[in-house]
């Protein structure tokens, strides 16, 4: 429920933006045409068209519906998106028992959070080498910082490595203590460390720690990952200097920032009061890059890298589909408006290509402006990246669908209407009245047309037969046919023309079909009458 209210608040600025745009458009409507010309300015005609188109389309109900539905779909896309933590299971059989839950982070900045969390042992691998002067030689050593929780009271069934780490923690009580491996440590103690603040040397056998792995590829000592299946890690134990985790030590070693890996180990039952593992996992999940949970011989790695769920992907696809359906149903009205404008602009010399380009540019401008609230909401955090992706995807699809439909519409604008006529020339003469009766009879019981009217207009040189037929398979469609009859010497020429008048919405194809049908009926009737009488 907590994500519900921010989305409602989002609607308010959207509505305000629309109101402002609507008022501005209403105020400056006709500004382009009615502005008195004060000075001669060279303005591109395409830009003028864009301005005109923008002012006409932005206030149309179709664009408003498209934009409102776009916003709604964006909010929906944002709210259906679920992320999940990526997960992997590894085999931990034959590995020492080091932890129940372990967290691994790759940045030093989380150290404060780590030290405030519940942990048993924290290890920081610092990847910046420090110089130690032993006698006359300068040694480059890699610092490994260790810290243990003081509340640890009980340890059962853990490995020797944990006990060893706890012993080392005990040795590192003071800030100036450094633990070195036995060979180097003995030398350092004899000669003495110079030039560094760590002057108290504790000697220990660190060799057992060298090959201790938490999970495959992650070691207690410095390792930088694996190349070609081979892990690159510290091989020489004499290059390690163990130090205590303290603010001073971290400040000295990582003065200007450094690469570090922080490993926190939590062992169940180390506290007096036993915490549930789930709460530890929840705590670690927010701090570390990935956490490892051990269940007997198996370890599950949870990464904080999020990936979208299958449900989100399916939801996004369905959402995209519904947006296309909505767009297709709304676009015809908008295209009709744009097509109506091109008829006028065409007559003043604007080519179809310029008009098409201007329309697409206008649509791009409109969707760019309406993207501003979405971008702001994403920046603030009200919408997630899924919402922005959905907006971009749907708006690009909108532009593509509208522009392709406009192309189709513009393609039919300049086509000249096809004339429907037929000519019949014969030597035989038929009396007009007889022809009229014959035609009326032949069309009387027609399946497609009902002959409503037939009349003869006579002149000294020629006569005209006019037929009016109603198309039976539509509500109100009339085919009007005119037959011009002329004589040249001994030849008679019959010219039939057909026109359709309808109150219904027909596609050009249907119109042509009815016209052809009407023409064939009249032509057929005429030929049969002429042949019968001759």
């Amino acid at each position: 429920m907590n994500v519900f209210y921010p989305h409602l608040i989002l609607l308010l600025p959207i509505l305000m933006i629309f109101t402002v745009i609507f008022l501005a458009i209403n105020k400056y409507r006709g500004y382009v045409e009615e502005e008195p010309i004060r000075e001669v300015r060279l303005v591109s005609p395409a830009l003028k068209i864009v301005k005109l188109l923008f002012s006409k389309t932005i206030s149309s109900i179709e664009i408003i519906i498209i934009v409102v539905s776009l916003y709604l779909l964006t909010i929906m896309a944002s709210s259906i998106a679920f992320y999940t933590y990526s997960m992997k299971t590894v085999d931990l059989e034959n590995r020492p028992y080091l932890f129940d839950v372990a967290g691994v982070g790759n940045t030093i900045s989380i150290i404060d959070k780590v030290l405030q969390s519940r942990y048993s042992i924290v290890i920081i691998q610092v990847y910046r080498a420090s110089a130690f002067n032993v006698g006359n030689e300068t040694l480059i050593l890699y610092p490994l910082l260790i810290g243990c929780n003081r509340n640890v009271v009980l340890l059962d069934n853990t490995s020797m490595y944990i006990e060893m780490l706890l012993d080392l923690c005990g040795s590192l009580e003071a800030d100036n203590v450094v633990v070195l491996n036995k060979d180097l440590g003995v030398l350092a103690r004899e000669v003495g460390l110079r030039g560094v603040k760590y002057n108290s040397v504790v000697v220990a056998n660190l060799k057992p720690l060298l090959d201790v792995e938490l999970i495959p590829g992650v070691y207690i000592l410095h390792s930088i990952g694996s190349i070609g299946g081979e892990t690159i890690k510290l091989e020489d134990i004499n290059r390690v200097a163990l130090l205590k985790i303290s603010k001073d030590n971290i400040d000295v070693l990582c003065k200007d920032g450094c690469d570090a890996k922080i490993i926190s180990l939590y062992i169940d039952g180390v506290y007096e009061k036993v915490d549930s593992l789930e709460s530890i996992i929840d705590e670690y999940k927010d701090i570390f890059d990935y956490i490892i949970v051990r269940h007997h011989n198996r370890g599950t790695i949870y990464s904080s890298t999020v990936i979208p769920t299958l449900e989100s992907i399916v939801g996004l696809l369905v959402l995209f589909l519904s947006s296309v359906i909505l767009l297709l149903s709304i676009s015809s009205g908008l295209i009709e408006k744009l097509g109506y404008m091109v008829d006028k602009l065409w007559s003043i010399g604007i080519s179809k290509e310029v008009y098409w380009a201007s329309s697409v540019l206008t649509l791009i401008i409109i969707f760019s402006i309406t993207a501003i609230p979405i971008a702001i909401s994403c920046y603030i955090g009200w919408l997630n990246s899924f919402g922005l992706t959905a907006y971009l995807m749907i708006s690009i699809t909108t532009i593509i669908i509208l522009s392709s439909q406009l192309t189709r519409k513009l393609g039919t604008v300049s086509n000249l209407p096809q004339r429907f006529n037929a000519t019949y020339i014969t030597e035989s003469y038929v009396d007009v009245e007889k022809l009229r009766k014959c035609l009326a009879q032949s069309l009387h019981s027609d399946d497609f047309f009902y002959l409503s009217e037939i009349e003869v207009l006579e002149n000294s040189r020629y006569f005209v037969l006019r037929l009016e037929m109603m198309y039976r398979r539509a509500l109100s469609t009339i085919a009007s046919s005119e037959m011009y009859v002329e004589s040249h010497d001994n030849l008679w020429k019959y010219v039939i023309e057909v026109d359709i008048w309808s109150i219904e919405e027909f596609t050009p194809r249907e119109m042509r079909y009815i016209k052809s049908l009407a023409l064939s009926k009249v032509y057929g009737g005429l030929t049969s009458c002429l042949e019968r009488s001759s």
């Binding site: 359906i325 709304i330 919405e505």
Partner: protein, 135 residues
């Protein structure tokens, strides 16, 4: 006469192109209502389905105008015109209402409220369209 006109209106409304879009939209709506159960999703789908009915009415704008013209030509009274147009538009929301109805069977408490709002809005929309509001 009125019965005949209503039947013809239903047939005409079913054959118009906007109806196909509405049916397709209700299929996607079905998927949504069964996949997601958030209140926000419900509010957004409600708004979207209302927009869809407006959009499908607009896509058949010319057909409706011509249909009303034809009814005028054959001497239909105002009451007949109103009924025909209301039937024409309300049929659009029928499929969407059926989808909400199937969601009721899944016992989601907010669905009946949404369905009620939807039907009320559709009736208001029919009235607006008949009086020449958005056409």
């Amino acid at each position: 006469m009125l019965r005949e006109i209503i039947l013809r209106t239903i047939r005409y409304s079913l054959t118009c192109v906007g109806m196909r879009y509405t049916v397709l939209f209700s299929i996607t709506l079905y998927v949504y209502l069964h996949m997601y159960r958030g209140v926000l999703i419900l509010v957004v789908t409600l708004a979207l389905s209302i927009l869809m009915v407006i959009a499908s009415t607009l896509s058949d704008r010319r057909n409706i105008v011509q249909f009303i013209n034809v009814l005028n030509l054959v001497g239909g009274r105002r009451k007949v015109l109103f009924t025909a147009a209301a039937v024409f538009i309300s049929l659009r929301s029928l499929f969407i209402a059926i989808v909400y109805g199937t969601a009721i069977l899944q016992s989601f408490s907010l669905i009946p409220i949404v369905l009620f709002i939807h039907i009320i809005v559709m009736m208001i929309l029919s009235l607006i369209v008949v009086r020449g509001g958005i056409l």
